[in-house]
């Protein structure tokens, strides 16, 4: 039951700070229920014993109250008192019902908010490798639908559970005090109910897990379809997409139907058992009463108790199945929480970062694929370092391990900046100082201004424009009707690939990091813009160490040193001139690119 504990812990941890609200909600709802039970009793008493002549046995306190009002005769004289009593019950019940609902709403919403916030924060701080291994749609399903399930349980059922249990305990104490035999007849159903409840609890949990997973899969399908909508259209694959959607939807629908069948039986069984309980009590009561072992009054009291607990017992079916679902939902949420977030190293250092960067025997594999193999080289501070390499040769991975999107394994060598292993450097410090422009830039659904200024937070349009000018995107931006206030759609769809790259570049330039990495950032730019940016960069980046990854020799040739990566290994390293003097890969590529150009001159 270890798992259960962590789930309860998760539940309790999230509830912390709202315990008081839940307790108040519980007490007020108990009061409200008590008075709403009392109301029909008062009406009944009035009809039977005040207007009618049936003597009704009522608790002593109430009897005293009736007596102090002058007994039946007094009540008959001042008949309005009875109506007022009903009114008082209604007022008290209503007011407490309101308080209960209101406090419960506060508690639940506080709970849900905390859960959502902590989930989001946790996901934000999970390592990048986790993000590549999980499906976005599935995680969204957990963060939305599973959270809803949990919320529903907390807001509707949690109090129900407590109430049912309390009610059962009180009812049985009363019954056992009255007559043990009859209490046993009635109580024998409790283990039966518990027994099949356990069975169904597991069954429902198992089936609900299927449902939840199917829902996650469906979510993944829809999410991917929407993200890849251009591909779907370009290939005219609408039919295929719907067919695969139908497949997933069928699984989803079938698993829910199957769950529905189980729940139907469970609920129905609850009704049957609670009715059988009454049957047993009525029959046994009739039997014992006929034999004169109990009085008619006792029998009627037992019947009324059994009826009182019948409601909660039937309700229990719904509560337990919801509880079981919530268990699954919480488990799935908990799986996210169980993933280890990125951690600050102990005694995290924040050394100056305008220092030499040294790769020492860096070896890295991912997904069973050896990406980097025993790489060693040094990038002197303030220099420009070019990287050239084939498709899939590990260029991007090199930048990922540099700013620790991926961590190097135990025996994977090390990377040092100014002699400090990056594993010992505070993570935000490292990443803030290594400005990385990603190969496939991601823009947030905000204005261009906000996007460029997102990490620097200057709020200064002039500075933003300065960076945009260096990235040669200012002209593009001001040509938009909304200029810098243009909202770039999700994933920046309304911008062209080259524009996105340049906005991302401007965003990184804003940080004025001592180390800047451009991962093939100019691939979608024309040569002219490329050249323009490079010359502006040289002035704009000042003393920063610049790492440029590119396939274009013209982009790389002015670098102080150029590393040629081949299949994750360092094949060549040197300046343009040094590499050109040798029979190098670099030279070969230079010749291809220059040759292509020369040919056109003929």
């Amino acid at each position: 039951m270890k798992k259960k504990n962590t789930l309860t812990k998760l539940l309790l941890r999230t509830m912390r700070g709202s315990y008081g609200l839940f307790v108040i909600a519980l007490i007020t709802s108990a009061v409200s229920i008590l008075f709403s039970f009392l109301l029909p009793q008062v009406v009944g008493y009035t009809v039977d014993s005040v207007i009618g002549t049936h003597e009704k046995v009522i608790p002593d306190i109430l009897q005293n109250l009736v007596d102090s009002l002058g007994g039946r005769d007094g009540l008959l004289k001042n008949f309005i008192i009875c109506a007022i009593a009903v009114g008082i019950c209604a007022v008290i019940s209503g007011v407490f019902n309101f308080i209960s609902r209101k406090t419960l709403a506060h508690g639940t919403e506080r709970f849900t908010r905390k859960l959502r916030d902590s989930l989001f924060a946790h996901v934000q701080h999970l390592p990048f490798s986790w993000h590549t291994e999980t499906q976005t749609g599935d995680i969204i399903q957990r963060c939305t639908s599973d959270v809803e399930t949990t919320k529903r349980f907390v807001s509707q059922q949690l109090i129900e559970v407590v109430r049912t249990v309390v009610l059962l305990i009180i009812a049985f104490i009363m019954m056992f005090r009255l007559d043990v035999k009859m209490a046993v007849v009635c109580g024998i159903f409790v283990p039966i109910i518990l027994g099949y409840t356990m069975v169904f609890f597991r069954q429902i949990a198992k089936k609900f897990l299927h449902c939840d997973e199917a829902e996650g899969d469906l979510m993944v399908k829809v999410q991917e379809n929407l993200t890849g909508v251009r591909v779907v259209r370009a290939f005219g694959r609408e039919r295929y997409e719907i067919d695969t959607f139908d497949e997933k939807c069928d699984i989803y629908s079938n698993s829910w139907t199957s769950l529905g069948y189980t729940m139907g039986i469970y609920w129905g069984l609850g009704d049957i058992v609670s009715a059988l309980q009454l049957l047993a009590v009525v029959s046994a009561g009739a039997f014992f009463a006929a034999k004169g072992e109990i009085t008619l009054g006792d029998m009627l009291i037992f019947i009324s108790y059994t009826q009182t607990i019948a409601g909660p017992v039937r309700q229990l079916g719904r509560v337990v199945s919801d509880m079981s679902k919530t268990g699954v939902a919480l488990q799935r949420i908990n799986e996210i929480f169980d993933a280890e977030p990125e951690k600050e190293p102990e005694g995290a250092k924040t050394p100056p970062m305008d220092r030499d960067i040294t790769f020492k025997n860096v070896t890295f594999s991912y997904d069973g694929r050896n990406v980097l193999k025993d790489l060693s080289f040094t990038i002197p501070a303030g220099s420009t370092f070019g990287i050239l390499g084939g498709t899939g040769s590990g260029k991007s991975t090199l930048t990922y391990v540099l700013n620790r999107l991926y961590d190097l394994p135990e025996n994977g060598g090390s990377i040092e900046i100014g002699g400090v292993d990056i594993k010992e450097i505070s993570l935000p410090h490292l990443r803030k100082n290594v400005g990385l422009v990603l190969q496939e830039p991601f823009l947030f659904s905000k204005t261009i201004m906000e996007n460029i200024d997102i990490a620097s937070k200057t709020g200064d349009l002039e500075k933003v424009r300065e960076s945009a000018k260096i990235a040669a995107v200012d002209k593009d931006i001001i040509s938009f009707t909304e200029g810098y206030d243009t909202i770039v759609g999700e994933r920046g769809v309304t911008l062209s690939g080259g524009q996105k790259q340049r906005v991302a570049m401007a965003r990184t330039l804003m940080l004025k990091s001592p180390i800047m990495v451009f991962d093939d950032s100019m691939s979608n730019l024309d040569m002219e813009t490329d050249a323009q940016i490079r010359s502006a960069l040289r002035e704009g980046t000042g003393n920063s160490t610049v790492i440029i990854i590119s396939h274009r020799i013209s982009t790389l040739m002015q670098a102080d040193k150029i590393l040629v990566l081949e299949d994750g290994k360092c094949a060549e390293l040197g300046s343009h001139h040094e590499l050109m003097e040798k029979d190098s890969i670099y030279r070969r590529i230079y010749e291809i690119q220059a040759g292509l150009d020369r040919k056109e001159e003929n």
């Binding site: 009739a286 220059a594 292509l596 040919k599």
Partner: protein, 597 residues
């Protein structure tokens, strides 16, 4: 769409067709609900019988039959419960699935311009969670409503028979409760619309927070994202509390009004009995009904609250389903060529690949500025057209129009000499090999991704296509080769690798028209050289549009278009344009490697 504050039954019309589809289920549910409640209502008769016959008479004779009959009633009632619960749950799921499917199908029809302006998270929330809300309310809410409504009506009838004057007093309840409900509902609706909107924002934030994780990490803005997210949940908290508070006032209030009515009836009726004029037993029976009617009235009010919550979802789903497609096929075209889902391929003419822009004017739906003004271009079948120009100059626009992702604002685009609108979209799209700038792959294996270009391709076809464009190297790098999973969006591959795979995906389809939008921008020079020959081989005899920055790719084109600020400033072959020493020559100059420092 204009937002209304009133409960709007018309929006619910969209639900009707779904109910028709699930009519049988709904009938079963109703039927067995009635059976279960009838059997339940006779349980008290058994208790009375037991008291009268066994206890009072002091005999246990016939108790066996009694138990048997009682148990039978219980079993019948229980089975009815099982049947109606099951079917109601199935009804809920079926309704939800039908709606999800319709939303999904509609999304497949919507034009790309729609997707440029809507976030995935918003759409996800509509397709997945809004539909769930609606189906839940219909399956349980409406049944609940009907059930209680019938109960209330029958109780009123009984009460009128018993004591018309008292019943008339109780009848006053209905308008009072009605007005109170209506008043609160309209308030709740406004709040709930905000709640659902924030719900989409939250889904959207999750989507962006997850898909943009890499960017967030490199920029170290995780905490900032969290703070922003917390803003959404704070809004959610505030609005949800407002909504719950309204409900928390409304439901007890309705109960209270009901109880007060009972008190009034008790007082008036009681006096009648005391001062004569009414039978004691009549009042007793009447009061039983009066007490019992309060809960159903609250239930009905409750259902209205639920319906109100769902009303917002219905509006949102409605908006999605009513979202017009800006690129559509006319009924005549559908008649002949079929839809995108049910194509009539037998009527399709083969595509030769001749494309002509005729007096085309174009502006994007969200802009007032024309990108193309009176544009004319004739591309004979088999021509290679290269489009060059500065980044963001509008190169993709031409391609978007040629592929009919957008429709010209004015003018015509002719494919094989006939207006593109005279054929179905699928007819054209099935003939396209589009390699996108952003090489999006789907999660699944490498082979599955390549096969997306031609679904019936064999493993050999896949490998051949991959080899043709050097994507076989990608497979050889991956443990598992072609059956290796590429991850969501192809994230386990590098950008260059993704481009190769998406290239193979286009090649395998063997289409008459190719569109290469910066298709090789992230591929290294040597690989590019390898596939360069393959490309020219593949493109032979096909119409192709190439957007590229690399001279090597452009040089051999039959026609080069130089685009600047959305206008075609030069057109011609490489040699012609070089001789002109204009914009193109300047671009070529910039592309050349300058050896001098």
């Amino acid at each position: 769409m204009e937002e209304k504050t009133k409960f709007n039954l018309r929006a619910w019309k969209i639900v009707l067709p779904y109910l028709k589809d699930t009519k049988k289920l709904a009938v079963i549910v109703l039927l067995f609900m009635i059976v279960s409640s009838v059997s339940e209502s006779i349980y008290p008769l058994f208790t009375n019988y037991a008291v009268k016959h066994f206890v009072t008479d002091g005999t246990v004779e016939g108790i066996g039959w009694f138990i048997f009959a009682y148990a039978a009633a219980i079993i019948i009632g229980g089975i009815a419960v099982i049947i109606y619960c099951r079917n109601a749950l199935v009804l809920e799921i079926k309704l939800g699935c039908f709606m999800k499917r319709d939303c999904f199908v509609h999304l497949q029809k919507l034009s790309l311009s729609f997707f440029s302006n809507s976030s995935v998270g918003y759409l996800l929330a509509r397709v997945m969670s809004d539909t769930d809300r609606i189906s839940g309310v219909i399956a349980w809410g409406i049944l609940n409503f009907l059930w209680n409504f019938i109960y209330i009506i029958s109780a009123y009838i009984s009460m009128f028979i018993l004591a018309p004057k008292l019943a008339a007093i109780l009848l006053l309840l209905i308008p009072i409760v009605g007005v109170a409900t209506w008043y609160f509902q309209s308030k709740i609706l406004v709040v709930n619309r905000k709640v659902r909107h924030i719900n989409s924002q939250i889904t959207g934030a999750y989507n962006e927070g997850i898909t943009g994780a890499k960017a967030s990490k490199t920029l170290v803005i995780e905490d900032q994202n969290c703070a922003e997210f917390s803003g959404y949940t704070a809004d959610m908290y505030k609005q949800s509390i407002r909504s719950s508070t309204l409900t928390a006032v409304m439901l007890p209030l309705v109960t209270f009004v009901g109880s007060i009515a009972v008190a009034a009836v008790l007082d008036i009726g009681g006096r009648d009995v005391i001062f004569g004029g009414m039978e004691y037993s009549t009042l007793s029976a009447f009061i039983t009904y009066a007490v019992a009617i309060v809960n159903p009235i609250v239930e009905v009010a409750h259902v209205f609250t639920d319906l109100n919550t769902a009303q917002v979802c219905v509006e949102r789903v409605n908006n999605l389903l009513n979202e017009p497609c800006t690129v559509t096929d006319t009924p005549e075209v559908i008649e002949k060529y079929g839809t995108s889902f049910e194509p009539k391929r037998e009527n399709w003419e083969p595509v030769r690949g001749e494309v002509e822009f005729k007096n085309v004017w174009f502006r994007y739906p969200d802009s007032d500025e024309y990108v193309l003004e009176d544009f004319n271009l004739h591309v004979p079948a088999g021509t290679t057209v290269a489009i060059v120009g500065e980044t963001g100059a509008g190169k993709s626009t031409l391609v978007n129009l040629a592929c009919r992702f957008y429709e010209p604002t004015q003018g015509q685009i002719l494919i094989d000499g006939r207006d593109a609108k005279e054929r179905s979209q699928l007819w054209l799209h099935s003939s396209l090999g589009y390699v996108l700038q952003d090489p999006h792959l789907f999660s699944g294996t490498l082979a599955e991704n390549i096969r997306y270009g031609r679904l019936d391709a064999t493993g050999e076809d896949v490998e051949r296509a991959a080899k043709m464009v050097s994507a076989d190297t990608v497979a050889s790098h991956l443990p598992g080769g072609y059956s290796a999973h590429v991850g969501e969006g192809g994230d386990r591959l590098s950008t260059g690798e993704k481009q190769l795979v998406s290239f193979a995906r286009a090649v395998i389809a063997d289409p008459p028209i190719f569109v290469l939008d910066e298709a090789t921008s992230s591929i290294d020079t040597e690989t590019e050289l390898l596939i360069q020959n393959a490309i020219s081989h593949i493109l032979e005899g096909r119409t192709s549009f190439i957007i590229a920055h690399r001279l090597s790719t452009i040089r051999h084109a039959d026609m080069i278009l130089v685009v600047d600020h959305g206008k075609i400033v030069e057109r011609g072959t490489h040699d012609e344009l070089m001789a002109k020493s204009g914009r193109y020559a300047a671009l070529v100059e910039a592309m050349r490697i300058k050896t001098e420092n």
